[in-house]
Symmetry: C2
Subunit: 344 residues, 2 copies
């Protein structure tokens, strides 16, 4: 059934990032990919993906080797363990299930074989996983892709897939193992030549650098309801909100041993072209009344900065507002009970 020379890869989350990842992995010819889908399962199962990509051109009715609507239970199905499990879902630790719970059925007991690849944003996302599966190699994927699922199974990728892969520090494993898995994954992922994937030996730097955008612009846009173009036009928002927040992240990174380049604040303010009026993920999520990834993107860098004595007053307020927005979404979904309204 499966080509035994190929690596088996389970991609959990087949949205705009996961679909392109699956495509790159299969396109290189070194992997057999199983994709776990939810909302778009039926469409992709029946018709495949329809992809318009700046990297791959027009790809119609494309199906990965296997498509599933839930995470496979390898013990119950007597499946061999996957070589790689790639996570491309949102990572929202404050709303169940956690990533650790989600992947559990697909991991063998006392796993050392399967390597996890977290193509997810934020800080400390590996920690609960390493705690739950101490000998599992866990890789960091920092993606700069611009892609969108415009309809179920329809992916428009209009900005190149640039992916930085490195090994998260795992005190239970020798560094060599994790590093060699990272380099192998880069080879498998990049083999097709249609993507910019590279190995990084500085995961902390990759992640803190992206947080300059994700802990600042992302929640500020979500809270104000303004996209990354409009926030640059709105009276005083860049100088009053965006820049102070970004400076706090740069300071927190530095206090944690990560020196970001001099121009990183301006680079991140201008990374989205003003006149494309792009909505970062949290703004898109707030508009759809979806949960936001505020704990990993905002809460963790805030806590890491404060832990080493960095003053972060702007992020502190943004964090608590984001938390209130998350509570509002929870209430909207019936996840919190509140006292009945009094008739006065």
């Amino acid at each position: 059934m499966t080509d035994t020379k190929k690596k088996t890869v389970l991609v959990i989350g087949g949205g705009s990032v996961g679909a392109i990842a699956a495509l790159n992995l299969e396109f290189g010819g070194l992997a057999t990919v199983t994709v776990v889908l939810r909302s778009n399962f039926k469409v992709v199962k029946e018709n495949g993906y329809s992809i318009e990509s700046c990297d791959h051109g027009s790809v119609k009715a494309w199906r990965p080797a296997f498509v599933r609507n839930e995470v496979p239970n390898i013990a119950a199905e007597s499946l061999p363990p996957y070589d790689y499990i790639v996570l491309t879902t949102k990572n929202i630790p404050d709303v169940p299930p956690t990533i650790s719970t989600l992947i559990s059925p697909a991991l063998p007991a006392n796993n050392t074989h399967t390597t996890l690849v977290l193509i997810q944003n934020g800080l400390n996302i590996e920690k609960p996983i390493i705690q739950a599966y101490p000998h599992t190699p866990v890789l960091s994927g920092v993606s700069l892709i611009g892609s969108e699922e415009t309809a179920p199974g329809t992916i428009v990728q209009d900005d190149r897939d640039r992916l930085l892969i490195g090994a998260f520090n795992n005190p239970n494993l020798d560094a060599e193992t994790a590093t060699s898995r990272a380099k192998e994954f880069v080879t498998i992922y990049g083999k097709g030549g249609k993507t910019e994937v590279s190995y990084s030996d500085n995961v902390a730097h990759d992640r803190w650098r992206k947080l300059v955008y994700n802990a600042c612009l992302n929640p500020i846009c979500a809270i104000t309801g303004l996209d990354t173009g409009r926030i640059r036009l709105a009276d005083g928002s860049v100088e009053g909100l965006v820049r102070p927040a970004m400076r706090e992240i740069v300071a927190a990174a530095k206090a944690n041993g990560v020196v970001l380049g001099e121009g990183v604040v301006d680079d991140m303010i201008e990374v989205d072209p003003l006149d494309l009026y792009l909505s970062p993920s949290m703004l898109a999520d707030v508009r759809k009344a979806n949960f936001i990834e505020f704990e990993n993107l905002l809460g963790e860098p805030l806590r890491e900065g404060k832990k080493v004595g960095v003053q972060m007053p702007t992020l502190e307020v943004l964090y608590h507002i984001a938390r209130a927005l998350q509570w509002r979404t929870k209430e909207g979904r019936g996840l919190v009970d509140i006292p009945e309204k009094r008739k006065h």
Copy 2:
């Protein structure tokens, strides 16, 4: 036409606060009231107000002595100057017209006769007016009424009208003049006995005290989309946002010579009953895509606090977010131009 023993009062703004003010003023028998209306002019002109009031009971088809749809131009109409002009509109200095411009046609040149009464929230609202009309007595009205215009001309007042009247400091006038006008206005307003109006000799205290609610809970609710009940239930919002913001206002007040009572923070957190889920004014305005009074309620206390060296990191962030929300409303109303979206 006008009973010459009565004082003439022009009430600008005949919504939920102005209608009850007009009713109290006429009910006492000491004033002839002209109300300037906008959106509800036609309804009130034709049918009068329909008022359900905890103070006045059910009042049907009630009309003040005169109803107008714009501020009278007393020079052009050869009208005698009003004894009092009461402002009950929103006060939004960042969106024209300013209050000074609005009242201009109703004030005589080099006015000393007409007393202005600002039943409006926030700090320093008298300053642009005294600058424009240096010898005009200006009174502060701090209102704690609970009333709502549920349909044009239909007012539901379900919480008592409590009004504190005092004289703003005006360096161009002797204190006696302003004080005697304030006391006279209290007499006129309270004569009917259906309201709790009183004279206050500490306007700064009255205003800073109300800011503990209005500079903090009000914008926090507007920004998070949560009412004053829900904000008390939402994970960490009171301790993470509301209380730190309120403490900053208490500190700014103190540094400006106004000592607020020990329990003011808790009092203001709990002033709205949790299970009524009341929406403060800025939240109601954001929901209707109306402009918010953020400059007088939030910007001025922030500036006054910082001027005397008080650290106000929470209010600083809330201020800039509120300013971004205001910009969004301006864009929605076509008041700002932005570059066209690029076709990519």
